[in-house]
Point group: C2
Chain length 295, copies 2
C-alpha cells in the first residue's frame, strides 16, 4: 500500500490530492492549467512544477481526465462499454512504469454513433465505492453532463448532454446576451422552476430559448431573473429526455455548487437523489491504486 | 395608386425596392445597415441617404421588420393573433402621415409565454397573395425560423425556432469550432441527411450535437463534411418538433440559398413543398399600399 497522488487533469483545470493508504487526504492543490493551456511536450514540466515535491520514492500517481486524450499528455485508448472497474484498472497508460499512469476513458457505440467520457469513469467507480453499490443510474452535471447506467459493476451505457456549454453559449454569445443581466446573479429558484416547467411542456430548446427574449420584451421577467430561467430551460431539456419516473433513484455526482440545481429539478420530478461530492475522483483512483498493490 | 418604396429593415440588413402600381419592380437596393448598426436618432438620416432620391412627391414608403421594434426607428406595437391582413394594414405606425409608415409585427400568447415576429407577417401575407391562398402552414427559415398557421386569411398561431442562431453558436463558439472545418464549405448532402436522420431518432440537440465531436474523434466523418452534418442535426431538430405527416403541404418562404436544405429535409419526410422566394415582402407591402389607396 503506497501513498497516492490522485490527479484530475481536465480541459480547463488541474487538481491533485495526496491520499494516504487509509484514504485520508493529506493535501489538495488546484491549478488553472487545464490541458488546453499546455503546449505539446510540456506536460512533464507542468506536472513536475505542480506536483514534483509530492513524488518522492513511495508515491504512485494516477491521472484521470483529458490528459489521456489526443491533445493531452499521452493518449490512453478508450475502453469500450460494457466496461467495469477491472477494465480501466487493467488498461492504464504508464508514463513511468510503476510510478505515473493515466486512466483510460470509456466509449460506447449506439447505431454507429460513438459517445465518450474521460475522467467521469473514475468518478463513477469512486461514487459507487463510496455508496457501496455495484449498480445505479448516475448523473455527473457539467459543461458536458454524463448520464451513466451501471449494472453489476459495469458501465453498460452512457450519454453526453452539452447542457453547461449550451447555457454558456446562449448566455454569452447569443442574442439573449443583450437581454440577460451580466455577470454573476443570485440564483432565483422561482425563475428556475418556471424555466424548468416550460422546458418540460415545450417542444425543444430551439423554441423555448426564445421565450427568455419575449418574457423580457413583455416585462414579464426581470433581467436579473432571466439567467436562472434560462438555466431551468436547459436543465429541464436535459432531464425531460431521460424519461425519469417518480420513485426512480439517481446518484448525483459533483460539487455542491454544480449539482444543487439538478437536485432541485430531480426532486421536482419525484426522483430520489443520492449525492456524492467532490471526493469521488480521489476515491476512484485510490481504488485503482489498491488493485495495483494487491496484484 | 402610387409608386411604392417597399423597405425590409431588419437587424442586420436594409433592403429597398421601388415598385410600380402594377407590381413591376423598377430597382432594388441592399445596404449592410441593419438596425443594430444605426445609433438612436439617426434612422431618418440613414433612410434619407439610402432612399432619399426615390422619395419624390408620388412615392409611398412602407417599412417592415425590426425598424418597428423598441431598438428601431419607432416602435410599432404588435398586433395580437389571431390577426389578418386588415389588422396589420389598419395599424401602421406613420412616421410622416400619408408618406412613410412602419408595418406592425404580430404577437401570440401560449400559456403565458409570448412569441413575436416582425417582418415575417408581411412575407406571410405576400406569399399567400402570390399563391392565391387564404390558409396554409408556412415556414420562414432563418436565424430565427418562424412556423406560421394561417386559416381564413388570419394568422392563428406561430412559433419561433432559433435554428440559424444555434447553428452559428455551435459552429463558431462551441468546442465543435475546433472540430469543424473553418469558413464556407461545400454542402455535403449525404452528411446533411445523416445529421437529419440522427436528429429524428435522437433525444435532443443537447445530446446529438456531441456526435459531431465523436464522429470526428473516431474518424467516421471528415472535418469538411461536419458543418453539413451539424446543419442536418439542427434542421432535423426543428422539423421533428412540427409533427409533420407524409402528405402534408408546407409553404416554404425565403431565398433559395436559405431554403434549399429545408426543402430537402421536408421532402425526405414526404411533405409537399410550395416555394415562394424573396419577392414575398414586396408583394405584401404592395398589397398594404393598395388597401390604403382604395380607402
Amino acid at each position: 500500500m503506497t501513498r497516492l497522488l490522485a490527479v484530475d487533469w481536465g480541459s480547463s483545470s488541474l487538481r491533485g490530492a495526496l491520499i494516504e493508504p487509509d484514504g485520508r487526504v493529506l493535501e489538495e492543490r488546484y491549478f488553472a492549467r487545464g490541458i488546453l493551456t499546455v503546449p505539446g511536450g510540456e506536460f512533464p514540466l507542468v506536472f513536475e512544477n505542480c506536483f514534483g515535491d509530492w513524488m518522492n520514492a513511495g508515491t504512485l500517481c494516477l491521472i484521470s481526465g483529458m490528459a489521456g486524450s489526443k491533445q493531452g499528455w499521452r493518449e490512453a485508448p478508450y475502453c469500450a462499454c460494457p466496461a467495469g472497474f477491472d477494465d480501466i484498472a487493467g488498461h492504464l497508460q504508464w508514463l513511468e512504469p510503476g510510478r505515473i499512469a493515466i486512466v483510460p476513458g470509456l466509449s460506447v457505440d449506439r447505431d454507429g454513433v460513438p459517445d465518450v467520457m474521460r475522467g467521469e469513469e473514475t468518478q463513477v467507480f469512486g461514487a459507487l465505492t463510496l455508496l457501496g453499490l455495484n449498480g445505479a443510474r448516475l448523473v455527473l452535471p457539467g459543461t458536458h453532463s454524463k448520464w451513466v447506467s451501471v449494472r453489476q459493476g459495469r458501465v453498460r451505457d452512457f450519454s453526453t448532454w452539452m447542457s453547461g456549454e449550451f447555457y454558456a453559449l446562449l448566455r454569452q454569445h447569443s442574442m439573449l446576451a443583450r437581454t440577460l443581466a451580466d455577470g454573476e446573479t443570485v440564483h432565483d429558484a422561482d425563475a428556475f422552476s418556471q424555466g424548468f416547467g416550460h422546458a418540460l411542456r415545450g417542444q425543444g430548446l430551439l423554441n423555448t430559448a426564445f421565450s427568455a427574449r419575449t418574457l423580457s420584451l413583455f416585462d414579464r421577467m426581470s433581467a436579473l431573473a432571466l439567467p436562472s430561467y434560462l438555466s431551468g430551460l436547459v436543465i429541464g431539456e436535459e432531464l425531460k429526455a431521460q424519461a425519469l419516473k417518480p420513485g426512480d433513484t439517481v446518484v448525483l455526482v459533483g460539487a455542491q455548487t454544480l449539482t444543487a440545481r439538478y437536485q432541485q429539478a430531480l426532486e421536482h420530478l419525484g426522483v430520489s437523489v443520492e449525492r456524492v461530492g467532490a471526493p469521488a475522483t480521489g476515491r476512484g483512483l485510490r481504488a485503482i491504486a489498491d488493485t495495483l498493490t494487491r496484484a
